[in-house]
C-alpha cells in the first residue's frame, strides 16, 4: 500500500519519506523473521543429525539391565564404564578392527595401483579396441555385489592355491573388491584433463611410457589419487555384504560384520553394542573433522555411487 501510494505521488515529500521508512522497516522485520526461521530449521536438522550419536553415549554408560526399567530413563543413574572393557576383552573387537584396516587398506592400495594405470591407458594411449573395452567397464559400473555374490563365493573358494585365497582368508576378502569400475571411470575423467603436450614432450625426450606415467602423470594427478583413495577406503570399511558372505569364523570378521553379530538371536547386550558403536564412530568423527575438506570432495567425486 505504501509503495502504491508512493508511485501515485503523495501530496508532500515528508509523507513520502514516512511511507518509505515504514515499508523499509516492515521489510527488515520480515527479513529478520525469515532469518530466525531459517536458522531454527538448520539447527533442528543439525540436532537430528548429531543427536542419535550423542544419545548412544547414554546406554553405553550403564548396565544392560538398566535399559529395561519403566519408565525409561534419559540418563544413567550412575556411570558404568564396564561396557567398554567388555567390548575389548569379551569380544574380538580389536581383531575386527585390525581385519577392517587390513581389508580396506589393501583394497585401497591395489585399487589405486591398477586404476591409475588403466585410467591413464584409457585417457591417453592408443590401441585397437579401446572404445569397446571402456564400454565394458562403463556397462558394469553399477553392478551390485548382491547380484553376483553367489558366483563370487564359488570362484573365491576355487581359486588356485598360490593365491592363498578362499573362505575366511584375507586374499579371499580383498581380491574380488579391487576391480571397481567406478575408480577406472573416475581416473580416466581426471587423466583426460592432462595437457596433451606434456606427455608428448616427455615422449620426445625419450622417456618410456612407464617413466612418463611415474615421473610426469602421477605427480600431477596427486589430488585425484588422494580423492580416489579416500573414496575407496570409505566404501570398503563400511562394506557389509561381502565380508558377511565370505567370513564364517569370528576372528576373520570385519568391524561391520562383527558388531552386527553382537546382536544375539534371543538376548542382546545393548550396552555392549552401544559401547562398540561409540568406540567405532569416535575415531572416525575425529579423523573427519581434521580432513573434512578431502572427505567432502571424495564423496562428491563418487556421486555416481553415492
Amino acid at each position: 500500500m505504501a509503495v502504491e501510494s508512493a508511485r501515485l505521488g503523495p501530496a508532500s515529500g515528508d509523507e513520502r519519506h514516512a511511507d518509505y521508512a515504514q515499508a523499509a522497516r516492515r521489510r527488515r522485520t520480515l527479513d529478520l523473521g525469515k532469518g530466525i526461521a531459517a536458522y531454527t530449521v538448520l539447527t533442528l536438522f543439525a540436532v537430528i543429525a548429531v543427536g542419535p550419536f550423542l544419545y548412544l553415549l547414554s546406554p553405553s554408560l550403564r548396565h544392560s539391565y538398566d535399559l529395561f526399567t519403566f519408565p525409561p530413563q534419559w540418563l544413567p543413574k550412575s556411570l558404568y564404564l564396564g561396557n567398554f572393557g567388555a567390548v575389548l576383552h569379551q569380544t574380538s573387537y580389536v581383531r575386527w578392527g585390525i581385519n577392517t584396516l587390513v581389508f580396506a587398506t589393501s583394497v585401497t592400495l591395489l585399487t589405486l595401483a591398477i586404476d591409475t594405470l588403466a585410467g591413464y591407458a584409457f585417457a591417453r594411449m592408443h590401441f585397437p579396441g579401446r572404445g569397446i573395452l571402456f564400454g565394458l567397464v562403463v556397462a558394469t559400473l553399477m553392478i551390485p555385489t548382491a547380484a553376483i555374490v553367489a558366483p563370487l563365493y564359488i570362484i573365491v573358494s576355487h581359486l588356485p592355491s598360490w593365491t592363498h585365497a578362499g573362505v575366511n582368508t584375507y586374499p579371499g576378502m580383498i581380491l574380488p573388491m579391487v576391480c571397481s569400475p567406478l575408480g577406472v571411470f573416475m581416473m580416466r575423467q581426471f587423466m583426460s584433463t592432462l595437457p596433451e603436450g606434456l606427455v608428448e614432450a616427455a615422449r620426445l625426450d625419450g622417456a618410456s611410457e612407464l617413466q612418463i606415467f611415474r615421473k610426469v602423470v602421477l605427480p600431477l594427478m596427486k589430488p585425484a589419487v588422494v580423492v580416489l583413495g579416500i573414496f575407496t577406503f570409505m566404501m570398503q570399511w563400511v562394506n557389509f555384504l561381502w565380508p558377511l558372505a565370505i567370513t564364517t569364523t569370528d576372528s576373520m570378521k570385519t568391524l561391520t560384520v562383527g558388531i552386527a553379530s553382537l546382536q544375539g538371536q534371543f538376548v542382546t547386550n545393548w550396552g555392549l553394542i552401544s559401547a562398540a558403536a561409540v568406540m567405532t564412530m569416535g575415531p572416525i568423527i575425529v579423523v573427519f573433522l581434521i580432513f573434512q575438506r578431502w572427505f567432502v570432495q571424495a564423496s562428491m567425486a563418487g556421486a555416481l555411487k553415492q
Binding site: V50, G51, H126, V149, L289
Partner: protein, 320 residues
C-alpha cells in the same frame, strides 16, 4: 655444416615408402602392446571377479546348489518356482515402496535445506559439517543406532513419547512402521550428502538469471518454480536414477533392524536373495532373483547414461 652436406645426409636418412610403412606399423604395434600392458593388471581381476560372475549368475539361475555342494542343472524350474513365489512379489513391492519414500523424503528435505544454506551463508559450515556426520557411519551402525532410536524399551522415540505422557509404540511389531523406520534411517544417513550435492548445483546457477527474473517482478516462489527448478531438472533426473540404483540394494539396515520381519513386511530384494542363498539353502530361487536384480540395475544404468547423454546433447545444441 654446409647446406649441401646437410641435404645429402637427410637423403641417406630418409626411408623409402615401404620402409616407412613398416616402421610406423612397428611403432603402432609397440604402442598398442604398451597400452594393453597398462590395462592388464586391472582387467585380470575385472574379468575374474566381475565379468565372469555376471555370466555365471545367468547360468546359475538354471541350477540348484553349488555354494556348499555341486551345482545341479534343473532347467527352468527355478524360474517357475520364483514366478509363483509370493514372497518375491512382496519383496519387490517393499523395495519399490522403500525407494520411492526414501528418495521423495530425502530429496525434498535436502533441496529445502540446500535452498536455505544457499541463501544464509553465515555460519553455514557448522551446519554442513553436522549434516555430514551420519554419512560417516557404515549402514550397519546406522541400523544399530536406529535400534536405539526406535526400540520398544529404551528407544529415543518411546522415551520422548513417555516423557510427554503418550504411551509407548511397538515400532518393530508393525509392518508399516518397521518399513518406515528403515526409510527414515536411510533418509537420516543420506540427507547430508544430498544437501551438499544440491547446494553445489544451486551455486552453479548463474546469479544473473535470478536477478533478471527479480527485475521482471518474479516473487520468491515464482523464481524458484520458473528459474531454479527448470535449471536443476537435468541434474535432478540423473540424481534420482542414481539414488534409485543405490537404494534398490538396501540390505544392511534390514539385516540389523528387522531381518525382513514382521511377516516379511520389510523383506527387500537383496534381503530375499541373501535369505534364499545363505539362510534357507534354497539357492535356485536366490540365483533367479539375483538375475532379476541384475536386469533392473543394468536397465537403470543405461537410463542414467542416456540422461547424461541427453543433457550433454542439449548443452551442445544450446551453444550452437
Amino acid at each position: 655444416m654446409s647446406a649441401i652436406t646437410g641435404e645429402t645426409a637427410w637423403d641417406e636418412l630418409s626411408l623409402s615408402p615401404e620402409e616407412y610403412r613398416r616402421a610406423s606399423a612397428r611403432y603402432r604395434q609397440r604402442r598398442s602392446v604398451t597400452g594393453y600392458l597398462f590395462l592388464l593388471p586391472y582387467f585380470l581381476p575385472f574379468l575374474v571377479f566381475l565379468v565372469v560372475p555376471v555370466f555365471w549368475s545367468l547360468w546359475l539361475s538354471f541350477n540348484q546348489g553349488g555354494i556348499l555342494d555341486r551345482a545341479r542343472f534343473v532347467g527352468f524350474r527355478n524360474w517357475q518356482e520364483i514366478g509363483s513365489d509370493s514372497q518375491l512379489t512382496i519383496s519387490i513391492e517393499n523395495t519399490a515402496k522403500y525407494v520411492v519414500a526414501a528418495i521423495f523424503l530425502v530429496f525434498t528435505l535436502a533441496l529445502f535445506l540446500a535452498l536455505i544454506l544457499n541463501r544464509y551463508r553465515r555460519g553455514s559450515n557448522v551446519f554442513k559439517l553436522a549434516l555430514y556426520v551420519p554419512l560417516l557411519a557404515p549402514a550397519v551402525l546406522v541400523g544399530l543406532i536406529w535400534q536405539f532410536v526406535a526400540n520398544y524399551d529404551f528407544g529415543l522415540i518411546n522415551l520422548i513419547l513417555t516423557t510427554i505422557g503418550v504411551g509407548r509404540v511397538n515400532i518393530f511389531g508393525n509392518g508399516t512402521l518397521a518399513l518406515l523406520t528403515i526409510v527414515l534411517a536411510e533418509v537420516w544417513r543420506g540427507l547430508g550428502f544430498w544437501t551438499l550435492y544440491f547446494l553445489a548445483s544451486l551455486q552453479n546457477i548463474p546469479e544473473e538469471l535470478l536477478d533478471a527474473a527479480r527485475v521482471d517482478g518474479a516473487r520468491g516462489i515464482q523464481r524458484f518454480r520458473r528459474v531454479t527448478i527448470p535449471l536443476l531438472r537435468p541434474m535432478l533426473l540423473f540424481a534420482i536414477v542414481i539414488a534409485i540404483i543405490a537404494n534398490f540394494q538396501v540390505f544392511d539396515t534390514v539385516y540389523v533392524l528387522t531381518q525382513g520381519g514382521p511377516y516379511e513386511s520389510t523383506s527387500t530384494m537383496v534381503w530375499f536373495i541373501w535369505e534364499r542363498l545363505f539362510q534357507f539353502q534354497q539357492t535356485g530361487q536366490g540365483y533367479a532373483a539375483a538375475v532379476i536384480l541384475l536386469g533392473i540395475i543394468l536397465f537403470l544404468t543405461a537410463l542414467s547414461f542416456w540422461l547424461l547423454g541427453s543433457r550433454r546433447r542439449r548443452r551442445r545444441s544450446a551453444l550452437a
